[in-house]
């Protein structure tokens, strides 16, 4: 029963006219389902990507399951039927690779950096990372055990700033939620989270964020049943269209 990030989107197979791309789909693809486990922060771009992919591969259905990378890695190692795994960090991908569940070598397809999210009116007048450590500022960050928390820790170390957060959440969505609801004056989240939240929060970029760049790897799962389709999907993500969509969502290029 985890609040916040757990969404799965099942996109209906469109009987759209085939627009064959470079990697033409084999005839046997018809009626096949590709299951993609992707980090929660990828929800917006991957939903769009899956639609394009289905349009390019008529008869193929892409089922998307979004959750925290660590949750997804655990699910896959427990036998969840995933064909593709897109992680928000290299650690969870390495964990899966160590268990012999990754087919080939993972490919990095996106990066993400931290930003400061504040309520639209910015009540604590936050302008820099150092402002977060000012007394009386209610800052919410991710716990060090989760990727965004690890990134936060790195920035703290690099800048020599020690934050005294009012809460260390177990997911970046929970951090964002506390900012959106106005409970917190500021939260450290990913650039893409702020982008997805629209005008409910305001982003205060800070240069120190470059100290902690999160790299997103993607790989086919060895236990998956559609290796060809999985490879095709990875191609689509790392290809031009995929990169365009990811950049539109705020991701960087690795």
């Amino acid at each position: 029963m985890r609040p916040g990030i757990r969404a799965s989107a099942v996109l209906g197979a469109g009987t759209v006219a085939a627009v064959l791309t470079g990697c033409a789909a084999p005839a046997g693809d018809a009626g096949k389902t590709l299951t993609v486990f992707a980090a929660a922060s990828l929800q917006t771009p991957f939903t769009a990507l899956a639609e394009e992919f289905e349009a390019a591969h008529p008869g193929t259905t892409v089922t998307l399951s979004f959750a925290g990378s660590s949750d997804l890695a655990t699910q896959i190692s427990q036998g969840a039927p995933a064909d593709v795994f897109a992680s928000a960090d290299t650690k969870n991908m390495a964990k899966l690779g160590g268990a012999g569940l990754v087919e080939g070598s993972p490919r990095d397809f996106a990066t993400n950096v931290l930003t400061i999210a504040v309520p639209p009116e910015n009540p604590a007048s936050i302008a820099s990372f150092a402002d977060l450590a000012k007394p009386g500022v209610r800052t919410v960050i991710c716990a060090a055990q989760v990727p965004c928390g690890a990134a936060t820790k790195r920035v703290e170390q690099e800048t020599g700033t020690t934050l005294t957060p009012v809460s260390e959440e177990s997911s970046v969505t929970d951090v964002l939620g506390k900012v959106v609801s106005g409970e917190a004056d500021a939260g450290l989240v990913y650039v893409t989270d702020v982008k997805a939240a629209g005008d409910k929060v305001q982003a205060i970029p800070f240069p120190e964020s470059a100290q902690a760049v999160n790299t997103y790897p993607i790989a086919a799962v060895r236990t998956g049943k559609n290796q060809d389709l999985a490879d095709a999907f990875i191609e689509a993500v790392t290809g031009t269209d995929g990169q365009r969509i990811l950049r539109g969502a705020g991701f960087g290029t690795p």
Binding site: G68, S70, V140, Q145, S167, E169, D174, S181, G182, E183
Partner: protein
Amino acid sequence: MYTGIPRWVAAIAAVGALFVLLPLAAMLGRVNWPQFIPLITSESSLTALGLSLRTAAASTVLCVLFGVPLALVLARGDFPGQRLLRSFVLLPLVLPPVVGGIALLYAFGRQGLLGQSLGIAGLQIAFTTTAVILAQTFVALPFLVVSLEGALRSAGSRYESVAATLGARPTTVLRRVTLPLVLPGLASGAVLSFARSLGEFGATLTFAGSLPGVTRTLPLEIYLQRETDADAAVALSLLLVVVAVVVVGLSYRGPAPAGSGGRSARTGTPGRVPA
């Protein structure tokens, strides 16, 4: 002794019991026993356990404080809107805790209905231990009310009527007759509330946040440890199971014993003295 339970009913009951026990047994199988003691006695674990026990105790006190009057009003009162009040009080039983957390946020949060006035008075609730206690009280209160209202209804109001005709003021009746009569129901309600508070997760996560020693209770610690250290998560889960079993086992002994809420003293312990 004849029990009147058909064999197939017993068989289904066995399956039901297994359904509850199997996952717990499976979890036992995954415990890293050599590391178990270090895992549960780590500083973060002890901090979380201590916070959980303190907040659950505090919310149980609040549940008794508010739940006893509520149960009395619901069981003995007769006023318009009584059924509606009961439905609302019992709502957290069926509400997802996250929803409870969101609702609390809009009531006691910084921008909330009461939170704004409280903020002006210099009281901050969000991200404090108080928020944890409020979240736990919100989800645990119905357990006490349901349990106590049932005890009050089965005890009936005849003893109270007699006490009143003997000249006892309503407060005296409550203190010397009603409460002693429903004490077993009150105790089991309080224990259930404590256990529910101990397990509270969703509303706490949404409303209170998660900071070691302040708002990160044992369930939140388990959830976080799960991200990096599965062994720690399993060990702490087992700790929580043991604490819950001990608490419930020690004080909750099922339905109130005969005689405590019986219709008459004579039927309570029959035939000990010849007529």
